[in-house]
Symmetry: C2
Subunit: 364 residues, 2 copies
């Protein structure tokens, strides 16, 4: 595989020096920024994550800061989720859609104040969508990408490691809630969240200059916990059914197709609501499913067609071998006719056809 | 340097098979898509480009298709350039700005019809800006990313090669104009444009299935012209002063700062016009300049501060050694106090301080 060409446009992060010292072997680019993908091997990284604790450079989860008197008004326009129910210390997973209900991003909204929200982005410049709306409507709101870089601490020993650096208060943070906790005298948003199901936190590091001091403090405090540099692991996240915008869904898909209908509960007339009304009532014609693929498979770099009797009935967006479960785990978008658990199909990979079975659910 | 991790989200292009067969050595990611950066070496690729002809996979210059009764209305809102002067076969370089005049992208607009435009993007999802405005204003317009992938043919022998595949009519295409010319019975937009100053064309390949047949036809027709797979070359483009959004300018910069004031000639009340009025009258406080950097320099992965008497007076966004001119060529944003040709400064690189001199202009 070819290497990544250095340029300012593909931005380094406040933690890049630590990532490189830890021997990163693979990168991807996400929101115009480097995102590590492999340190030891995908398999070894995955096994370590499930047993110990890892520190992840997820600075590429860039924030869209929406602040001002009309911040909530804008949020209500772009969020299918009921913003009035959001607690002051809450993080909301918000599938954001266009006027046809097609997904534009699936950020995590963080409520900093009644007039100030961050949207922690998946890959895609949703800032420009919010900016376009705000300018066109003349909203009194400031929309910028602030100097905020999330650092995730994930794994079963995450609570222990975090308590040593931020104090015992971290243990009381509930799922998708946050506290403001100090590091070197600076209060940072620390949320119980992250892109694995191994437990842990995301620290919203405000101010690049804090990046390496915090990175180093976590490694110094966690030596006996076997802390390592890690990153979102493609095996663990597929096993866990954590969807990836751009891989598992695009603007071609609605939240209902992605199994995210429960997040479309806003009473407001948000953008896309009318277009989603039919699916809200009758359900989608296709939906995300956990799939098992037989045989050997190559890396999944394209949407692989799902076929039944020679007819396309869906596609696979993510697929990889799972050492823990001993099968190829996959995420697919499957037509209603073939989405029932146990249904058999075939998938067309670059290496040939492989058998596929629909599972009841993901692996955790 | 670490390698790029394969995933559907970082999209392959209709030409990826050809690019890989040609031995691509480096990639970057641009609009969620692979963009080749090196084949032989930057130096060898550059020398070949200046003497022969190359075929470039620039599919990552994704199109924003704006079509419908309100297409021109939307274009007039987001374009600082006078859209009423645009000829039917014209391509317009359009710096697009927010309400404060900060650059969001610098696409090339292609006028396909009175009610249909493409914006051929630099790196950044400007689609979402247009979409946000169109939805908020209720414009009757369809905004999508169509299956259109530019393929560039660049170098002094580009006319000869293109004439063999598209016919002699290509020679009559004027700079930043286009003709619709047939390949395998399909009419494609062929423009005289491209991200080098070695001359050439961009073919807007409509329909992915045409990608490899066209790639192969160009190589078959050009064997005696010494045609090679190439890509935008970082040496040639800095020598030529071709700006790169994300490297040389960001949302922090205005078109006037980028030397693009001549493109801000719209009589309409476009977004950002009021904010740019002061700079339109008195000029910007800092501006893009061609710079020479002495000594040896590492790859430019961050903005390097420009210093005079210990005070920051600008920054460098792109810098690389030029074998042709025997110096380090660079593009910087320099304060008015230090932008006069011949002015000496220092630049802080990761490898230490280096002397800098402002040049009268770029190298071609």
């Amino acid at each position: 595989m070819a290497s990544i060409f250095p340029s300012r446009r593909v931005r380094r992060t406040p933690f890049s020096a630590g990532v490189e010292a830890a021997g990163v072997k693979g990168y991807t680019v996400y929101n115009h920024m480097l995102l590590p993908t492999v340190f030891d091997s995908l398999q070894a990284d995955c096994a370590h994550l499930k047993e110990h604790v890892q520190v992840w450079d997820v600075a590429c989860e860039r924030q869209v800061s929406i602040q001002g008197p009309d911040a909530l008004r804008l949020m209500k326009l772009i969020s299918p989720r009921d913003m009035d129910r959001m607690a002051d210390d809450q993080c909301y997973y918000v599938p954001t859609v266009d006027h046809r209900g097609g997904m534009l991003n699936d950020p995590v909204a963080v409520k900093l104040a009644a007039d100030h929200y961050w949207l922690s982005l998946a890959d895609g410049d949703l800032l420009q969508f919010g900016l376009g709306i705000a300018i066109a409507r003349g909203f009194d709101v400031e929309i910028v990408e602030p100097d905020v870089s999330p650092l995730a601490v994930q794994g079963p020993r995450a609570d222990d490691l975090m308590a040593r650096v931020f104090g015992e208060a971290v243990r009381d943070i509930r799922f998708f809630r946050y506290k403001r906790l100090a590091f070197q005298g600076v209060e940072l948003v620390v949320a119980r969240s992250g892109w694995s199901k191994q437990g842990g936190f995301e620290i919203y590091v405000e101010g690049s200059e804090l990046g390496m001091p915090l990175w180093n403090a976590l490694f110094a405090a966690g030596a006996d916990l076997n802390v390592r540099a890690g990153c979102p692991n493609n095996i663990e996240r597929v096993e866990s059914g954590l969807l990836s915008y751009g891989n598992d869904m695009t603007r071609e898909n609605t939240p209902y197709e992605c199994g995210l209908g429960k997040f479309c509960n806003s009473p407001e007339d948000y953008i896309g609501k009318a277009a989603l009304a039919e699916q809200a009532k009758n359900g989608p014609a296709r939906q995300i499913r956990a799939l098992v693929i037989g045989g050997e498979i190559p890396p999944c770099q394209d949407a692989w067609p799902l076929l039944a009797d020679g007819r396309q009935v869906g596609q696979v967006g993510s697929a990889i071998h799972s050492p823990e479960f001993g099968v190829n785990v996959a995420i697919g978008m499957v037509d209603r006719s073939h989405w029932a658990p146990g249904t058999g199909m075939e998938v067309e990979t670059p290496d040939g056809m492989r058998p596929v079975t629909v599972r009841e659910g993901f692996w955790r």
